[in-house]
C-alpha cells in the first residue's frame, strides 16, 4: 500500500542575490526631463496618464524602462499611453542611467492616492486579500521578493488601465517578460468591473492609512 510520505530528509543550498550600486544623485539629474509628465516629485499626473513613480521599487522601475526600450512594453497595437512613454527614453542612454534614475525615484516618498468613488471597501478587501495580496503585499505595498510592484498610492485610473492591458494582452505576453506574464494570469481573477473598482478603492485606502 502506498502512503503519503516515506521518510527521507534532504538538505539544500541557498543562493544569495547579487546587488548593484546605483548612483541616485545622478538619477535625480537624469530625471529632469521626465518631470514634464510625471511631476517634479514624481507624484504622477493623471491628466497626462503619467503614473506615480515616487517610492516605487527600483528593480521594478528599471525593468519597466528596459521593457519599454526593448518594445516588450508599450509597443502593442492599441497601447497609446505605453507608446507615449516609449518615445521618452532618450534621456536614458544606457543601463547605468536607467538604474540611477530608478534608484532616485525609489528613494522619494510615495504619495497618497485619491479615494475611489463608489468603491465598496469591504468587498474590495475580500477580493484584494484573496486574489492580489499574496504577491502585492497585504497593504499593497509591493513585494520585491516576488517582483510585484507597489500599488498603494498609484492613481486608480492608471491601475485599472494596466489591469485591463494585462487582461487584453497589451502587456505581459512576451516570452521574455516573465513577471508580466505572471500578472497577466491574475488579470482575469476578478469577476468584473465592479469588483475591480472595489479592489482599487481598497488599494487607495491603504495609501491613506500610511
Amino acid at each position: 500500500m502506498w502512503r503519503l510520505f516515506s521518510l527521507l530528509i534532504l538538505g539544500g543550498a541557498l543562493v544569495a542575490p547579487a546587488g548593484f550600486a546605483a548612483d541616485a544623485a545622478r538619477g535625480g539629474t537624469l530625471y529632469a526631463p521626465c518631470a514634464a509628465c510625471h511631476g517634479a516629485q514624481a507624484q504622477g499626473n493623471p491628466a497626462l496618464q503619467a503614473p506615480v513613480l515616487a517610492g516605487q521599487d527600483a528593480g521594478y522601475l528599471a525593468r519597466q524602462l528596459r521593457h519599454f526600450r526593448a518594445g516588450i512594453r508599450g509597443a502593442a497595437d492599441g497601447d497609446t499611453a505605453g507608446a507615449t512613454m516609449r518615445a521618452q527614453l532618450a534621456p536614458l542612454p544606457d543601463d547605468a542611467a536607467i538604474d540611477d534614475v530608478a534608484a532616485w525615484l525609489a528613494s522619494l516618498p510615495a504619495p497618497r492616492a485619491a479615494a475611489v468613488e463608489g468603491a465598496v471597501l469591504r468587498t474590495g478587501s475580500n477580493y484584494y486579500q484573496s486574489k492580489c495580496g499574496a504577491c502585492h503585499g497585504a497593504r499593497a505595498e509591493g513585494n520585491p521578493a516576488l517582483f510585484a510592484p507597489r500599488l498603494a498610492g498609484l492613481d486608480a485610473d492608471y491601475l485599472a488601465r494596466q489591469y485591463r492591458n494585462f487582461a487584453a494582452g497589451l502587456r505581459g505576453t512576451e516570452p521574455a517578460d516573465r513577471y508580466g506574464r505572471q500578472m497577466r494570469l491574475m488579470a482575469t481573477a476578478l469577476p468584473g468591473e465592479a469588483e475591480l473598482r472595489d479592489v482599487l478603492g481598497f488599494i487607495a485606502a491603504q495609501s491613506q492609512q500610511e
Binding site: 503519503l4 510520505f5 541557498l14 486579500q129 484573496s130 486574489k131 495580496g133 481573477a189
Partner: protein, 510 residues
C-alpha cells in the same frame, strides 16, 4: 468556578423571565414546540451497503469508543534522551511505542499503519515534545490506525499533531500549548476520535477537522486560540462535551471555499460549554481565520445540517450563534463549486445568556433595519433554507423570521458516527500528487483565497509551467512574504511525490 456559573445561570434565568415578559409575542408558541420534542434527529449516515435499520441501530448503540483496532503485541520503550523517530523506524505495524517522561526535540513522522504512540505519565510527568520555536510539526502521520496519546506538545511553528489521509485515528489526552497554526489537525481522514485534549495558544484552529468524515470530538478543553474547534469541509461529525472558552470563535462548522472537497454537512454540536469567546483575533490579517468576529460562540458558515443542542452558550459580545453565508463573510470570495448557504440548520434547546452585548456593526445595522432591539443571542445573515429553531421566544434573535419549528427535539438517536475500523483510503498509482495535495497542501492553501499560505491561483501564476521549480521550493522553502508565516519544508516527501504534487498544484482549477 461551578458556583459562579450556577449564580450566573440564576441571574440569567431571571433575565429570561423579564425578557419573555416584555418580548412581543412571536408566531409559534412554546407548546407547539414541546409537542414535537419527542422525535430525534437522525443524520442517516450509511456506510457502504448498510441498510436503513442497521444505520439506526448502529447510530443509537453508541458502543464504538475506539477505532484504531486492538494494540499489537510488540512494544518499544523510548527513554528520555532517546529518539522517538528512531523507534518509529524500527517499529513494525502493530507496535505500541511507549515514550517515557522527558523532553524530546524532534518531529515524529509516522508513515506506517497501526502504530500507537503512547506517552507514559508518571506522577504527573509526561513526555514533552518541544519544538523550541524552530521545528515545524510535532507529529505527522500518514498511516492508518494511528494513536497518539498522553503527550505535552509545545513551541512548534506548524502543527501539533497532523494527520495526512490516515483513517481510524485516535488522538487523546494530549496537552498542546503555544504551538503553531493548528493544534490537532486530521486532514482527509475517515473514522477518527479527538478526545480529552487540552489546547491553548494556537494561531489558527486548535482542533481542525479538515476534509474528513465520521469524526468524534469530545471532552476537550480549548481556550485562548483564534478558532477553538473547527469542522471544515467535513461530514458526519459530533462535537460534544467540550469546554471551549476565551477563543476568538468557539465552535465552527463551515465550508472554506477553494478546497478540493466542497461540502460540510451533518454536524452535531451538543452538550458543550461555549463561554466568553471574546479573544482579540490574532490570526494573520487578511486570512480567512482573521475574518472571524471576536465574540462568536458558535459559527455556522455555509455548512448544512448543523444541529445545535443542549449547549451552554454565554458571554459572547458579537453573538452566541452566528449563521452566515459566504457572501457575507469576511476575507473570502465565493467558490462557484460550493453552495455558499448554510441550509437546514437546527437550533434545538440551548441555554443562552449575555450574548451580543457589543456586537459588530453589520449586525447592528441588521437590527436597525428590522427595528429590533436587545442583544442578540442568535444571528443569521444571508440565505438559509429549511432551517429551524425550538422555543425561539427564549432568545433574542436576528434574521430568523423564516426559520420554522424543528420537527425533532433532540439528537439522542445518534450516539456516534464512528464505525468499526474502515479500510485505508485507496490511492491509485497515478493519484500520488492529488492525494498529497489534498492531504497536506490543502491544510494551508486554498485555490482562490488566503488561508495560511498564499492562494493556489497565485502560485500557478508564479510557477506557470515549471513544476520542478515548485518542487524545489517546497523541499527547501525560503521566506518571501512578511505577512505570512513560514512554509514548512516538505523534504520528508520523496522527490517523485514532491514533483507529483507540484504538477497537481499547477493543474487544479478550483
Amino acid at each position: 468556578m461551578t458556583r459562579t456559573i450556577v449564580l450566573a445561570l440564576v441571574l440569567a434565568l431571571v433575565g429570561f423571565a423579564a425578557g419573555n415578559w416584555y418580548a412581543k409575542p412571536r408566531a409559534p408558541a412554546q407548546e407547539a414546540d414541546a409537542a414535537r420534542v419527542a422525535a430525534s434527529y437522525e443524520g442517516g449516515f450509511r456506510a457502504d451497503g448498510e441498510s436503513a435499520a442497521a444505520v439506526s441501530e448502529r447510530l443509537a448503540s453508541g458502543n464504538i469508543t475506539a477505532v484504531a483496532g486492538a494494540p499489537g503485541e510488540h512494544e518499544i520503550v523510548v527513554a528520555d534522551g532517546e529518539s522517538i523517530q528512531e523507534a518509529v523506524k524500527r517499529a513494525a505495524p502493530g507496535t505500541v511505542i511507549r515514550v517515557r517522561p522527558g523532553t524530546y526535540h524532534e518531529t515524529v513522522y509516522i508513515d506506517k499503519d497501526a502504530i500507537r504512540l503512547v506517552g507514559v505519565i508518571e506522577q504527573g510527568r509526561r513526555p514533552v515534545l518541544d519544538g523550541h520555536g524552530k521545528l515545524n510539526d510535532a507529529v505527522l502521520y500518514s498511516g492508518n490506525g494511528i494513536v497518539v496519546e498522553n503527550f505535552t506538545i509545545t513551541k512548534y511553528k506548524g502543527n501539533g499533531i497532523m494527520g495526512q489521509a490516515g483513517n481510524n485515528f485516535e488522538i487523546r489526552n494530549n496537552l498542546i500549548i503555544d504551538t503553531g497554526v493548528y493544534g490537532i489537525f486530521p486532514q482527509l481522514g475517515k473514522n477518527g476520535i479527538v478526545e480529552h485534549n487540552v489546547l491553548s495558544g494556537i494561531e489558527d484552529a486548535a482542533i481542525y477537522i479538515g476534509m474528513s468524515d465520521n469524526i468524534h470530538v469530545a471532552h476537550n478543553v480549548v481556550f485562548e486560540n483564534v478558532a477553538g474547534i473547527e469542522i471544515e469541509n467535513s461530514r458526519h461529525a459530533i462535537v460534544e462535551n467540550n469546554y471551549v472558552y476565551d477563543n476568538t470563535g468557539g465552535i465552527l462548522a463551515f465550508i472554506t471555499p477553494g478546497l478540493p472537497i466542497k461540502t460540510t454537512s451533518d454536524v452535531i454540536v451538543r452538550n458543550n460549554f461555549v463561554v466568553r469567546n471574546n479573544h482579540p483575533n490574532f490570526g494573520a490579517p487578511g486570512s480567512i481565520v482573521a475574518g472571524i468576529p471576536a465574540g462568536t460562540g458558535i459559527l455556522v458558515m455555509a455548512a448544512d445540517e448543523v444541529v445545535i443542542e443542549d449547549n451552554i452558550i454565554s458571554d459572547h459580545k458579537t453573538a452566541g450563534i452566528l449563521i452566515v453565508d459566504h457572501a457575507n463573510a469576511a476575507n473570502l470570495t465565493i467558490d462557484p463549486e460550493s453552495d455558499p448557504n448554510p441550509d437546514r440548520v437546527a437550533v434545538l434547546d440551548n441555554v443562552m445568556y449575555r450574548n451580543g452585548y457589543d456586537t459588530i456593526p453589520e449586525v447592528k445595522a441588521l437590527m436597525l433595519a428590522g427595528m429590533q432591539r436587545g442583544e442578540p443571542d442568535i444571528v443569521r445573515v444571508g440565505p438559509s433554507t429549511g432551517s429551524c429553531i425550538l422555543n425561539r421566544s427564549r432568545y433574542v434573535t436576528v434574521g430568523l423570521d423564516d426559520f420554522g419549528v424543528c420537527g425533532f427535539g433532540n439528537t439522542d438517536a445518534t450516539v456516534t458516527y464512528l464505525l468499526p475500523p474502515v479500510p485505508p483510503r485507496v490511492i491509485e498509482p497515478g493519484e500520488r500528487g492529488k492525494i498529497a495535495y489534498l492531504g497536506i497542501c490543502s491544510g494551508c492553501h486554498i485555490y482562490g483565497g488566503r488561508m495560511v499560505g498564499p492562494p493556489v491561483q497565485a502560485i500557478q501564476a508564479l510557477y506557470m509551467d515549471d513544476p520542478q521549480a515548485l518542487a524545489d521550493y517546497i523541499a527547501n522553502p525560503v521566506r518571501k512574504r512578511d505577512d505570512y508565516p513560514e512554509m514548512p519544508p516538505q523534504n520528508y516527501l520523496d522527490p517523485e511525490t514532491r514533483l507529483a504534487v507540484a504538477k497537481y498544484m499547477l493543474e487544479v482549477r478550483n
